[in-house]
Amino acid sequence: MTAVEAQPETKEIGRDRRRKEDARLITGRTRWTDNIQLNGMLHMAMVRSPFAHARITSIDTDAAKAAPNVLAVLTGQDVADDQGVMATAWPLSAEQKSPTHLPMAVDHVAFAGEVVALVIARSAAEARDAADLVEVDYEELPAALDLKEAAEDKVLAHPDLGTNVSAVWVLDSGEAGTGGNVDEVIAQAREDGIVIEREYRQQRLIPAFMEPRSTVVDPTGEQITMWTSSQIPHITRFLLAATTGTSESKIRVIAPDVGGGFGGKLQTTPEEWLVFVAAKRLGKPVKYTETRSESLVAAHHGRDQWQRLTLAATKDGRLTGLKVDLLADMGAYIGLVGGGVPVLGAWMYNAIYKFDAYQFKTTNVITNKAWVDAYRGAGRPEATYAIERLVDELAAELGMDPLELREKNWIKHEEFPFTTVAGMTYDSGNYEAATARAKELFGYDELRAEQRERRERNDTVQLGIGVSTFTEMCGLAPSRVLGQLNYGAGGWEHATIRMLPTGKVEVLTGTSAHGQGHETAWSQIVADRLGVPFEDVEVLHGDTQIVPRGMDTYGSRSLVVGGEALVLAADKVVEKAKPIAAHLLEASVDDLEFKDGRFGVRGTDQGIGITEVALASFAAHNLPDGVEPGIDAEATYDPVSFSFPHGTHLCAMEVDTETGETRMRKYTCVDDIGVIINPLIVSGQVHGGLLQGISQALWEEAVYDDSGTLVSGTFTDYLLPTAADTISFDIDHTTSPSTTNTLGTKGVGEAGTIASTPAVVNAVVDAIRHLGVNDVQMPCTPERVWKAINTAGSGGETVDAAVPHLSTEEGQA
């Protein structure tokens, strides 16, 4: 037992390990939900409402039922008693208005795409064919589509509610005692300072994960098993039990390989609930896989807000007050966390700056469109966009460099920990360091010189430089804070470590990765903590029967919260192994030290590896009195605080002033995300996040026509960028370790998306500000940019542009 195995020399944390996940993903050895085939499996197809708002007057299913190989056709009436209901986990108040959201409509549909009937057949094609034979009669009702009009209750989305306003939620620094009265501060600035007032549009976006959602439910056997393309298998299991009456212990939910989520799979869905009820009824496995069009029409959307903003400052550029008044489109129903999404921004509008007073107010409005819920960043991109656009506007007003104005107002690195005007305590950060590095990498001064030069010679292609010095709150979330916010669950995370007798280590995590590389990063953390080889660690996740407890993956929480649970579980394994090691070494526990996977007796060369202790405790032949066999351990970690990544993003855009065409010239970002576990994975998270934020600025928008039909309902119409639309990014990091977790990590999943949108729009506006432009509405299409240059305003609504395109009067536009 003294022959201690050689331990890995390199510390794993910080190493750019190639991912363990990739071996299966690059060879097609994948287990997407739609790959699952079971004996006797049946297929489901949906019949969806073509109307945004209607009453269902009759449904004739006879022809569909008579179609070949059709086993069942079900309507909302048929499943009214056992279909369950879609839950809202985050009511903003007891008074919140929330229409009942049934998996399948019974007599009223509230958006185009809502399920009104389903067909189950032996093949997917036969189910689809038969779905076309279902005859539904509707009495069409006026639809509440425009957000501002809906807020005025001109047309009611759900007449029974009596209003479209779901909830109003306010955070006020004067009332909370975290700052002054914002109205007084603004009034003061109107007298002797500067007030910037703007209204910005956060257009509706679609998460557009690449794997369409798919669900298989197998009701045979004692437990009903659901495989589903989801970020949240644990939450899904809980809510299936809570809303359908099926015992939680009879339900197993598995998220196998999941092809992206970005918040879009942070949802329990009508489709999942309907597959569940249908499989139970038929007693056979049932599969449903959505088409891309169904995904775009009926999976939840993101953003969709109007932001009315008032920024107050002194004449020398000191920020004094910020007032935020949002209209947030919830769509037809309040999603799982949809009502809370605007609220997640409430603590972030003040960003990295010191203010005297602050007020945030959101009015959540129900309309007849697909419901809105989390999309990468959820509330925080909207906040960052607003403040970073406003600060650039103030810099223009003052004739100051936007970075100088920011530095004048941001929290200095020696001032951390710092409690903001919104009442959040930021633990660490260094905005000076990130900005200095970003300026250097970007070539800030050179690009400013080029910009001046192009201005002076009236170049038709102008250069703009956009800045975004963002911060965000990650690591959702301390359970007590969630309780105060009326959220329906905690924010802890769970980990179990099993020390197998063969020397291998199984890690069970309650997080549920869908592209983030947890299998690799978690292996690195555990390998370091236990001193075992990276290759010997196996990470298991996404199955409620294997990992019984978990809060799943969203909100840049997995590493910050789930990673700490791993650390705690690993430390418990060491503590459990220690008395056994001491016993086997015939030494005192107090004389042992644990290093690189080995318990050594201080002052001797005697020692025993932790994997040998695992084997000895498995055999259990020779254990100390009163010690249980086994050194497995589990831990559940509830975060004490959020973490606050930050960064400085710089973007250079070229704008052709004759055509409105924009071209990205350079994008540089320096993010401080605390300690980095795997720089390769981090780079991927940043690149992908950047492009999603850039894409909001330049390309993406979910557009409804005036009858409530989603006209961007395919990938031909909803513009996702391709490789040819984009450039390579320059990324780097500074590191201020978080002080609220052992590993010093902060979270990176959403950073790029949160930061990049305002950097791009600031750059576009900066390029053409000398032409009298101070805003271009997103997405900054060539048409909008051209209009902003050539007419007053910010370029107009997309829907106005889209309708003539479809109308016959306009000919072949």
Binding site: M210, R292, T722
Partner: protein, 169 residues
């Protein structure tokens, strides 16, 4: 039903298929070649890209009957004797994937791109992958992967083209 005979990943197969069956459905549902996936209904995303007689095609845009008598290679047929294709290796090395859903199509298209242009510059790579959507990577590391593969394929072939220096990420 129509009888088709074709070769898929070196395996000779013969089936009766409905005339409307897409090649991707045939691969996934009849042959269990689930490495090839479907991402959209409109041939925009390229997730289903395979090689038909060595040329990339979107298998959602080809009928199974059109593949009759032809040779199909999918992501599952690239590695030989446990040895990854250099482009597969490059995607792993350069972290050219995250969720992995677009990856089979992205790899098949990258191979086709390099078959036609062994030494593409960055813009040629970007344009060559224009028909394949990825939502995770921002394309940055996919471009690096193709550059990396280009260099390694050239080195392996003893070609005179100098491999480009590429550091992942």
């Amino acid at each position: 039903m129509t009888r088709i005979n074709l070769t898929v990943d070196g395996m000779k197969v013969s089936d009766d298929v409905e005339p409307r069956m897409l090649l991707v459905q045939y691969l996934r549902e009849r042959l269990g070649k689930t490495g090839t996936v479907v991402g959209c209904d409109t041939s925009n995303c390229g997730a289903c890209t395979v090689h038909l007689d060595g040329e990339s095609v979107k298998s959602c845009n080809v009928l199974a009957v059109q593949a009759d008598g032809h040779d199909v290679t999918t992501i599952e047929g690239l590695a030989t004797n446990g040895q990854l294709h250099p482009v597969q290796e490059a995607f792993r090395e350069c972290h050219g994937l995250q969720c992995g859903y677009c990856t089979p199509g992205m790899i098949m298209q990258s191979i086709d791109l390099l078959n036609h242009n062994p030494h593409p510059n960055e813009q040629e790579i970007r344009e060559g992958l224009e028909g394949n959507l990825c939502r995770c990577t921002g394309y940055h590391n996919i471009v690096r992967a193709v550059q990396y593969a280009s260099g390694h394929l050239a080195a392996a072939a003893g070609s005179s083209g100098a491999p480009q220096e590429v550091t992942p990420a």
